[in-house]
Symmetry: C2
Subunit: 138 residues, 2 copies
DNA sequence: CCTAAAAAGACATTATGTATCCTTTTAGGG
DNA sequence: CCCTAAAAGGATACATAATGTCTTTTTAGG
């Protein structure tokens, strides 16, 4: 239960790699993919998603590539995860109580709310800066 | 991400229903399924799993059915969830660091450990007694 | 023995995850 | 103005997991 998908794992690897580079260093997708050991075509899809919401910026054509959309200390792990995995929802009713007609009197419902809060808190408390420091720094 | 499956949801509904009954009241699967609005055949599979690990006790044949394996205040939500969904694993490496050769220098790894701990803490802090009280009590 | 009820196992269907491939767009450089 | 590099977008293929259902077997009471 509650398992991150490959996509999410790859997404984190990729963007943490970027976070370890200078902010203005344009990185080739193929280089990133090779460095973090992710299928390049898959990572391409992931970075397209990142690009759409501004987490990374992209440049096409010769000399193109990717760089981080913001300073790594301003990007939380929660943002990254939710960008590719969708919102943190331990149970359907957390997001859509109206879908379950038991939610009115259900004592389990608030527990999932609490789980959601805790997970979000942990992930919000971690920035890409912290994740990048100590390893792929150069 | 992190979404409970139907199976998990159904499992909780079913066992919470049992927890709301007297400890010695044998309940028919068909009755439970109807009361908590779950496909009976599916709930049967779930309760078989519960039965194997002693979370519920079962009796076959005429007059048979299910009852709770222990007092509801002694069964945590974590037990119930892990029984049907498997362990709480936010990422593969939490359970098997050796599977990822990056785990040695990875700063993300401890974050997932923390997530796991928080979720488990929340679920451990809730017993079936608390979940049953206030609604299907009779 | 007959019937009620759970256990066990096989099967069917759908949804999700995990990619790959091909075509199109964009941009730089000669 | 072309040629090439590189990302964007769309379609597709395959594997795995989720969500059930069905049938047969075992167990137990009356
Ligand atoms: S029964 Fe309770 S926990 Fe389950 S989906 Fe409905 S509100 Fe949520
Ligand atoms: S890279 Fe880090 S977070 Fe990802 S699987 Fe490996 S150890 Fe875990």
């Amino acid at each position: 239960m509650m398992e991150l998908t490959r996509k999410g794992e790859y997404a984190i690897r990729g963007i943490v790699y970027l976070a370890g580079k200078p902010l203005d260093k344009v990185c080739l997708l193929s280089d990133i993919a090779a460095a973090v050991d992710v299928p390049p075509t898959f990572l391409a899809k992931i970075f397209q998603q990142f690009s759409k919401i501004g987490l990374v910026r992209s440049f096409r054509g010769t000399g193109g590539g990717f760089l981080l959309g913001r300073a790594p200390e301003l990007i939380t792990l929660l943002e990254v995860v939710e960008a590719v995995e969708g919102p943190i929802i331990p149970n359907r009713c957390v997001c859509a109580p109206q879908d379950c007609d038991r939610s009115a009197f259900c004592n389990v419902h608030p527990v999932w709310k609490r789980v959601q809060g805790q997970v979000r808190d942990v992930l919000t408390g971690v920035t890409l800066r912290e994740l990048a420091d100590g390893n792929n720094q150069q």
